[in-house]
Structures are given as structure tokens and as C-alpha cells.
Assembly symmetry: C2
Homo-oligomer: 219 residues x 2
Amino acid sequence: MRLVIARCQVDYVGRLTAHLPMAQRLLMVKADGSVLVHSDGGSYKPLNWMSPPCWLIEEPGTWVVQNKAGEKLVISIEEVLHDSKHELGVDPGLVKDGVEAHLQELLAEHVTTLGEGWSLVRREFPTAIGPVDLMCRDSGGASVAVEIKRRGEIDGVEQLTRYLELLNRDPLLAPVSGVFAAQLIKPQARTLAEDRGIRCVVLDYDTLRGTESDDLRLF
Amino acid sequence: MRLVIARCQVDYVGRLTAHLPMAQRLLMVKADGSVLVHSDGGSYKPLNWMSPPCWLIEEPGTWVVQNKAGEKLVISIEEVLHDSKHELGVDPGLVKDGVEAHLQELLAEHVTTLGEGWSLVRREFPTAIGPVDLMCRDSGGASVAVEIKRRGEIDGVEQLTRYLELLNRDPLLAPVSGVFAAQLIKPQARTLAEDRGIRCVVLDYDTLRGTESDDLRLF
DNA sequence: GAGTCCATGTCGTCC
DNA sequence: GGACGACGTGGACTC
């Protein structure tokens, strides 16, 4: 990784056109050739950048970074205040927990959270327009499609509605009802869902995990 | 801005839980207290970070960055390989061109691109669930709601569908038809749109801009 | 503050 | 490689 602090001006031409006037910034050149232009504030997003795979051509006072698609980043350098290189090696990568995939696993294992006597047909139940998170049967044997979200918003309700519309055309499955399950359900999403006859269920991640721990403790 | 190259381990606890094993990385501390942890590859997104406003408490071998919401980033430092500080000053900021807002402007000025004799009622036509990009009248005086996207995907069709459903309840406007206009329309979005009686129009940014230039040349 | 929508979104995964 | 959905989405803008 190369770190350069420089007074520079940056122009990007690609999916859009963008210009950064002359000012002092950090230029970060990663081992894969990608370049990031950071200011001393804002958030984690650089002011400008080029993602790998891309190539940096360095001339005195001008860097040109290009990718295969023809997007181009031109950096004009007026003054270099710092320039250092560092060997970091390959990163072992991030380990995450608590995301939707895990919620789905937990709920699949404890499908009775949704109703007494319910059973799981399968996770990622395939349809022509994409997989339904969980397909279940309720205690009466009726099909229920379950959409799981961390944050339940209007998009998720639309998604489940599309699935239900399609699934209910299949005479082997119909009638299929819907459950919208999320750690947090926004009021507007709840209103839309209930208006469409979709049941809303708020999930508690710790309780689901706790249930799992309890199960394990039985052995 | 402070740049530290260090062998470190990072743990984030907040909206999710994430862990980075011990390895060499760049730690960037910005003037506003925000912290970014970068590896020597990937793209512009840091492996881990804390956005401002947040506070860094530095102890020997351990940094703790926290925000008001209680999210926490704990960085355990085993070895420091580089540590430098730089005064960058405030950045003048980025100037952009070619985004959706500009597409909307251009199409609003050249609404006849959509059809002979069409006229613009208004941009950002207000509805209870959000503004419609363009409200037009066709040559016969019928209302047309236009949704503009840079990339036309399924979400955009759903959005326009919601607007149309609402607008068609208004006897003063109904019947309202829909146009889905985008620089690129994904096949699935096109299928869904046309299935719902929504017309799809592919926009050419340069042609729209060219049309504008021609107009200007007349003066 | 909540709701809504754009983004050079980026990122993973599945096909 | 393309399509699709999640994201610690972030950020801007409206009400």
C-alpha cells in the first residue's frame, strides 16, 4: 500500500462526470492497483476512487487510473507532502454475525415460533422470480410463505406479495398465505402488509438464539 | 489526518458483530474523529470503520472508538510500523454531473421525446406516498406518470406501480398511464412493467444533451 | 425525527 | 459473467 499526501485536483469520467478542485488530500494506492482519494472528514466513502481491476499510469505531476470499461480517474498533483510504501500482506478477512442469513437459519430451526404445530417445508424455496426465504405448513397443513428481513420495510412486503401472487397460481400449493418476519417492522410496512392479509411477526434475535442454547442444554 | 500502519485485531459490536483477526492494516483517523480500517486490497469500503460523530479513546495497545448509539470499535494493536499526522484543511467538495436529477431536468425540457404533442404538467408531482418524477399529458390530454431511473430495475417498476394505483383513484386525473424511462432497462423490469401495461422507454443521455445543445445553437 | 429514494452504490451468492 | 437481494448500506431531501 502506498500513501501519498498531496495537493491535487481530481477528475473522474465514467458512469458520471465528477471534479475535485485543487486541495490537500490523501491518495491511497492499494496492492491491486485501486486508488482512493480521501479528504480529512466525511464518512468512509472516498471523495473519488477507482475500483480494481484497474491500472495506474504515473507521470510527473499526473496520475491516470483506468479500468477495462473505459472509466478514467485523472489526478493532477501540484505538491507532494508525504509519500510512503508499506507491505501489508493478504488480509484474513472479516467474520460477521447477526445478519439475515443467520436469522433465517435460526427461524428455520424454530419454525414453531410462528405458530403451534407448524413445520418447515424448505428454506430458499425456489420460484420463477426468486427463492422464498421459508416455505412452511401450518397446523392445518396449509402453505405459508415466510419472508425474513432484519429491518422490515415496504420493499420486503412488495417482494413477498410478488411471491404470493405467483405461488397462488400453483394449484398444488394454493392457497398460500404470507408471513412477514423481521427484527423491526416499520409502521408503513406493517400497514401495507396487513392491508394485503399478510401477518407480521417481530423476531427477537437473542430469544431465537436463546431458544437454540436451551435446546443444546438439553443434551 | 493520522495514518497508522499496524499489526492489529479489530472487533465491532453494534448493528452486528464483526471480528478481524490479527494482521497488518492501515488505520486512518480523520479530523472529525472517524476511524477507517483498510486492508491492502478490495475496494473503497474499509474492512471496518466508525462514522462521525464518534470518539476515539487511545490507550497503550488499545483504541476504543464509540458513538452515541453505543456502537463500539475495539482495535488491539500489537505493533506499530508507521505513524504520521497531516493537516489537510477543509475540502472544497465534489462537483457531479450526469446523475438522475440531471436526466430528469433534460427529459422535462424535452418531453416530446416520449411522444408527439406531449406536454409537461410538472416535475416532482406530489402524491401522498412521494413525488412522481414527471407528470405529463399526452397529445389527447390524458395523464401520464413518468418514472425516471438511470438503471431501470424491478424496484422502479414497483415504485411507479404504487404511484399509478394511487393516482388512478383520483377522478380528476384518472385514467393515468405509466412510462418507465431509463438509460438501461433490465429484462426482468421490462417484463414486469409491460405485464402491467407500463410503457418502457430507453433514454440516451448524450442525445438528450445533444438536443439541448441544438436548441441553444438556435440563439 | 421519520419517510422516501438515489448511489460511480458495493458486496455476496446463485445460476 | 449476469441477475438478484442484502447492506453496520450512506446521504440528501421532504414533511
